[in-house]
């Protein structure tokens, strides 16, 4: 799994904290990983949504990754709907992983859907990254 993270596209970007109910301190503040996998479950709920994605590792094994998103209140304003993702969808998804290197958890930053659309999390006026 470690190898997968290292070989994944690493992108540096300044992001505001995507605030879940828990502390963001265990997650990388700036470094993001990008993984390609298959959606297992997408839950649309408060206080925040999540996407579970099965990602193949370098041994061909499927590994469960949970990407933690903000509340639907903000996701709607970033173009999301409750049916934006469904099980079986292929996605390329980015997020900030745990500093510890433990695989499987990331704070969501963006996703590229099968139709080519890319969705973020929330507009800048509600705590999202500054618009460029």
């Amino acid at each position: 799994m470690k190898k997968l993270i290292i070989t994944s596209a690493l992108v540096l970007s300044v992001v505001a904290p995507a605030f879940a109910h828990h502390s963001p301190a265990a997650f990388e503040p700036q470094k993001t990983i990008t993984l390609t996998g298959t959606v297992k479950e997408f839950r649309w709920q408060n206080p925040h949504s999540w996407i579970e994605v099965m990602v193949p590792n370098d041994k061909g094994q499927e590994v469960l990754w949970a990407f933690e998103l903000t509340s639907p209140t903000y996701l709607v304003r970033a173009g999301w709907k409750s049916n934006t993702l469904k099980p079986g969808d292929k996605v390329t998804i980015s997020g900030r992983p745990l500093k510890s290197g433990e695989p499987g958890s990331a704070i969501f930053t963006s996703v590229m859907l099968a139709d080519g659309r890319t969705l973020g999390e929330r507009p800048a006026r509600l705590g999202g990254p500054a618009e460029k």
Binding site: A20, H22, A25, A26, P29, P47, L98, G101, S105, G127
Partner: protein
Amino acid sequence: MTMTGRATIALVLAAGLAAIPATMLAQGRGQAAPPAPAEPLSALAPENLSKPRPKAPFDLTGNWFVDTSPGPDAWRFGPPYPKLTPKAQKEFDTGMKLLKEGKVYKDDIGQCWPAGLPLIMTRYWPTAMIQLPTAIYMISEFMNSMRVVYLDGRQHTDPDIVVRTFNGESVGRWEGDTLVVDTRHFRGDHHWMDQGGASIPAGEQLRIVERIRLLPGGKQLEIAYTMTDPENWEGEWKSTKRFNRVNDIDIHEVECLPDLNDHLKSTRSKTQVQ
């Protein structure tokens, strides 16, 4: 004595006893019953709402979201931090040590404990405020945490009977164009001044005085916080935050449900240290 005579005496004695106030009887047994406190009028009682009062200098009714333009850490109340007591310093040092290891120390909010003041106001969730002549009702969307700032002239509740809470008990008064809110009676366990960074506890002696101003144009409010807690730090901890009026969102039901963390692996991971 005839039966009629005994009955007459019994009736007279019973009437006499009934006429003695209960407090006198209690005193007679050496137990002075304290007078029952007068029940204050509810902040929503029509008689309270309709009392004549000076017009409030501003109305905070609306939805407010902390201004994040100063940076992604705009929700935090430090650094700088005040000089901590040895007890709080020990917690702070433990939290910082674990932070460097990529771990989080005592993230009670992440385990569904209430955030409490002051964090509940700044934690990247909107707060709905409804201002009445007698009180301001504040509901954070985050876990629908409720806070009431009483404006009807009442005093803080007797510490011996108050029920301590994570948002405390807030009593406000107008000073010119500023609303000064004094909040006391906090719960002193599972209550923190930061989340997952500066692990500074909030104790029962925490007192927060907010000076609230609505800035010209009415689109931004400013809260200047002065926070004291001799159990955990020396002197006054000051911080000023701004909040933007948000007119296109409403708050919704937000609960920390028992299964929430089951799908968030980080909250069950080795990064969490209790």
